[in-house]
Symmetry: C2
Subunit: 337 residues, 2 copies
């Protein structure tokens, strides 16, 4: 927190009574400098609090000592807090490892995003990227692998197991399985699923969450369960669940793929209950919205995921040719206070 002028190569040189070039040599090529001189210069560096400039270190090491991550455009809003926690976790773990975290604004499409990443890496502004929101038709991992860009994905290589890369993801199937166990413990026996459109088809975050629900239902021997789908929009979810609850196969609980869906489902359940106890709804992401509504929700260990991304990247910097590694972290059920 020293408020005085920062030490420079020149001030260190003056203090040690040597030339600026000698100080530079001590820092970059210590073997070129006689031992007595070297010790005098190192003492002057310690006393003056000199810190080599980051650009100079970057040029010397050919490393940016920085990773890039995308700042998302506002969309849904409800799940935004997951990324907030992810940014803090990356910055914290990065600082512990001498890595700064550089934000880039999410552009219109993947091609524009890859241009930004190329520019950051090729100009030496970042050594690596943490990709967020990966999907099965995501072109980014294959492109980055092809261009030799170091990256770690927060998200699995959905359906692209033949193109291995470093990734960290949350075990969504485990989360919805925990939700079903919780509901069984409450005595529910007809546990429906509210997922996203197409989440039964290709590998995705949605199909993973759906699978956990389905396997837990099968395991409990509860027969063929009901599932419906809705865009990730509270009003759309409310309409879909209203129809479901008015029908012959109305469930006594609903596991949802997101808190946004859970918000709509809960509204429909409250309306259908007409003052009575509404159908139990479980959400996903443990956002403040779920807490505000008093809903149980699956909490992703975002801070842990962020630290693991940094761990995988630092290990990759040390061993560029090591095999790709994926880490699946378990979520927990978050019960409202």
């Amino acid at each position: 927190m020293a408020a005085h002028e920062p030490a420079t190569l020149d001030s260190v040189a003056a203090r040690a009574g040597v030339s600026r070039q000698t100080v530079s040599n001590v820092l970059r090529h210590p073997a070129r400098v006689a031992e007595g001189t070297r010790e005098r210069v190192l003492a002057a560096i310690r006393e003056s609090g000199y810190r080599a400039s980051l650009p100079a270190r970057q040029l010397a090491t050919r490393r940016a000592h920085a990773i890039a991550v995308r700042a998302e455009r506002q969309q849904d809003g409800i799940s935004g807090l997951v990324l907030d926690a992810f940014y803090h976790g990356l910055a914290e773990a990065g600082q512990d490892n001498g890595l700064r975290v550089v934000l880039y604004a999410q552009p219109a499409d993947e091609a524009a995003e890859l241009e930004i990443i190329d520019d950051l890496v090729q100009t030496g502004a970042a050594d690596a990227v943490v990709l967020t929101a990966t999907s099965a038709d995501d072109q980014r991992p294959a492109y980055l692998a092809g261009s030799g860009t170091t990256f770690c994905a927060f998200g699995r290589p959905w359906g692209h197991d033949d193109e291995p890369h470093d990734w960290v993801d949350v075990d969504g199937a485990l989360g919805t399985g925990l939700a079903v166990q919780h509901l069984l413990g409450l005595g529910r026996r007809s546990i429906a699923y509210l997922g996203w459109p197409g989440d039964g088809a290709e590998p995705s975050t949605g199909s993973d969450r759906r699978r956990g629900w389905l396997e837990a239902i099968d395991e409990a021997g509860l027969g063929t369960p009901v599932e419906i789908h809705s865009l990730n929009d509270a009003a759309a979810a409310e309409a879909a669940v209203s129809t479901l609850l008015a029908g012959a196969d109305a469930p006594d609980a609903i596991v949802c793929a997101s808190d946004t869906l859970a918000l709509g489902a809960h509204r429909a359940a409250v309306a259908a209950a007409g003052g009575g106890t509404p159908t139990t709804v479980v959400g996903f992401d443990a956002t403040p919205v779920a807490a505000a509504l008093g809903l149980v929700s699956v909490a992703q260990p975002i801070d842990q995921a962020a630290h693991l991304c940094i761990d995988l990247l630092t290990a990759r910097f040390e061993s560029p040719d090591r095999p790709a590694r994926g880490v699946l972290v378990p979520p927990v059920l978050h019960l409202p206070a």
Copy 2:
């Protein structure tokens, strides 16, 4: 998006048939190079897509071309989305101005934060800082001004008008004034305020929001209004509002300093209404929680504030000695869908 090897000084030199030093001279000291050679080298640079490395540009310009901003620890959660939008706005406006945005993790206290900022600036990792969450007893602005660090605060210099610095803030008083106007339009006449402890005392975000409510009530000639205070916690707010609504001076509307307070107030109002229409609650920050509860809330123009912070910083880089400038941006009322 080129996937081939990036061009280097050497490859540009080979292409132009000159030495590496000549290429460097064309970039840094073009007057030293004969015009014909210079044009040949510039053509080779264009053809090869060569981009000067960021560290080299940083060393040459003595500028990091980066600004730092704090990644917040998770606290309240409900208002986190405001920062999410702020990060995206900074990254977007930064990109438009050739500035990267570097995140640092919020440490334990202000002293530790100032050490981090000093380190980022003194090592050339950032040229400037955007300070968030400023307050009256904030030591950071005076320290940064004293150490000559360029910064812009997202937040006014509460009570420190004698220490001017660049800032952008949202006009909170205007926001709560709009809330009162809205409630008057609905026919409410007894409009209470739920604020934070001590928000009538020193200049602060809380006292500013309270002032807007009080001035609008005075202007409408509605007599002495009721105000209560609570920590920014939904359960604490719920308890405080329950007591208020059970008393003799129960209001018919409550303007709140935050959506967290509004959540607690709304819960208390629903409980007190016993199935009837609850007392109208207006929140602040227009978070998804307010939307989920169907509450009107004051929305801060966060994207605009972020762009203005970048504007002030770039103007400061161009004119380091220009007078300090503060910009107050107007919020809008957000009505639930």
